[in-house]
Symmetry: C2
Subunit: 246 residues, 2 copies
Amino acid sequence: MIDQTNKEEGSADGVGFIKGVAIDAVIFGFHNDQLKVLLVEYKNTGIIALPGGFIGEQENINDAAKRVVSERTGLKNIFLDQFYVFGDYSRFDPEPFKTVMRVNGAAHRDDHWLLQRFISVGYYALVDFTMTKPAPADIFDSCAWYDLNNMPRLVQDHTQIVKKGLEALRANLDYKLIGLNLLSQDFTMGELQTLYETILGKKLLRPAFQRKMLSLEILERVAKKWTGGAHKAPYLYRFVPDKSKV
Amino acid sequence: MIDQTNKEEGSADGVGFIKGVAIDAVIFGFHNDQLKVLLVEYKNTGIIALPGGFIGEQENINDAAKRVVSERTGLKNIFLDQFYVFGDYSRFDPEPFKTVMRVNGAAHRDDHWLLQRFISVGYYALVDFTMTKPAPADIFDSCAWYDLNNMPRLVQDHTQIVKKGLEALRANLDYKLIGLNLLSQDFTMGELQTLYETILGKKLLRPAFQRKMLSLEILERVAKKWTGGAHKAPYLYRFVPDKSKV
DNA sequence: TATTATTGTAACATTATGTTACAATAATAA
DNA sequence: TTATTATTGTAACATAATGTTACAATAATA
C-alpha cells in the first residue's frame, strides 16, 4: 500500500520515475448519448486535470499509460493509443503544482522535480462507461466523468490535449473500429450509430450505416431487445473480434 | 561555432538539453525510383544510426526535430510529422554509445547522461532529394542516403523505427498528399505515380491514378517535358498549395 | 383491432474506383 | 518523308461503394 501510494502522481519525490516525461490520458466514455472524459480534481485547489502519471525507471511507456488508466478506472484490458507528444516550451508552467503542494502542506523547493519542465505523451483510452469505477487517489478530491461538450477549465494545456485526442479518435474511427470499445458487450445498431454520430459530430444515414457495419462481418446478432417502446424491437449485436482478424 | 558544436548529438556533457528524451528522424528521400533514408555513421565504429538529437531546455520539441533534420540536410521548411514514441525499457542499451566514446577517446563514466535510458520521439521527414546536402558532424564518418530496400544493420531499435515511420508515411499518403514533398518542384504524372507505387509497395493503374490526382485540383500543368524518348512527351505538373486549402 | 414509432432492408441513384481501349505524339529507323 | 515504336492523355465502360427513398415488419398503446 505504501508502495502503491508512492507511485501515485503526487508523490513527494521522484524516486523510481523517469524525470521530464509525463503521460496524460484522455479517457473517453459514452453514456446517455454523450461522450464523457474522466478528469481528476486536485485536493483543495479546484484544479481540474487529465489523469496523468510518470514512467517507472524500468517500465515500458505504454505499460505506464495502461497503469495510469487502470488506477483511475479500475479496468484491465484497456484500449489505448498514443496520439501526440506535447513538447512546446510554452506549456511549462509550475504554478499549478506549486499551488497543489502549498495548499496541501507539502514542503517543496523550486527545483522540485514536479516543478521542472515536462514533455507529455498523450494517450487516449476507450472504456466501457458502465464498467468503470472512477477512483481518486489521496491527492485528488474527485475523479469523475465530464461531458465532452461541457468541460470545465482545465489546468495548463489539457483542454488542447483533449481536443487533439478527440481528433485522433475521429481519424481512427473507420480504420480501427475503436468505437466498439466504448459500448457494453451487447448493443443495438441504433446505439452504435449514435456513438459514431457523437464522435464524428454529425448525423449519418441509417440504412447506409447499418449496411456498412454489417458488411464488415464483425458483428453477430445475439437477441432482440424489448425496449418497452411502441415499435419493432431492435436486435442486440455483439462484437466478434476473431472475425476481424482474418 | 563552439556553441554549434556543443549542440550536436555527441557533445560531451548534456548542458542545455533535456535529459531522458531524444529525437530520432527518419528522413525520406526519393531518387532513381527508390525511397532513400538518410543515415549517419559514428566515427571509427561502423555504427550506423538514424540522425537524432536532443531537445534544448527551452526549445519546442518540434523545433528540435526541425533543427536535427536541418543540420543533416541543409534544408529549411521541412515537412515533419511525429509518428510514435519509442519507450520500451528493453530498447535501453548503452553499449553503442560507450563504444563511440571509447573509440573516439572521450572519457566517460557509466553515469554519463548519454548512457542513461532515453525515451525517443520518432519523426519522419520528407525532403527533395535533389536539394539536400547531407552534412556529417564531427562525430560522424558519414551522413548519406541508403536504399530503404537495402538497409545496413542499424544501432539499437532504429530498424524498427524506420519500419514504423514507413507505415506512418503510408497511412498518411492519401490523407495528407505528403508524397509531393518528396519530388522536385516540377514533375510528371509518371514520376508522381512511381513515387506512390514505391511508397505503397504496389502497382497502381495509370488511368485511375491520373484521374484521381487531377480531381484533387491541386496540380497545375506547367509545360511539356521532352525526355528524348521515342514517344509522346509528358506534361510537367506543379503543386499548387493554395488550392488545397479551400 | 387500429394507431404509432421504430427497425430491417430492398431498391434505386449517385459517386468513386477499376479496367479496357485508343488516339495523340515525340523520337528513331527505313 | 514516312512507317515504327513507346509512352501519354483520356474516353468509355464495368464494377463497387456510398447516398437516398421507400416500405413492410413489429412491439406497445389506444
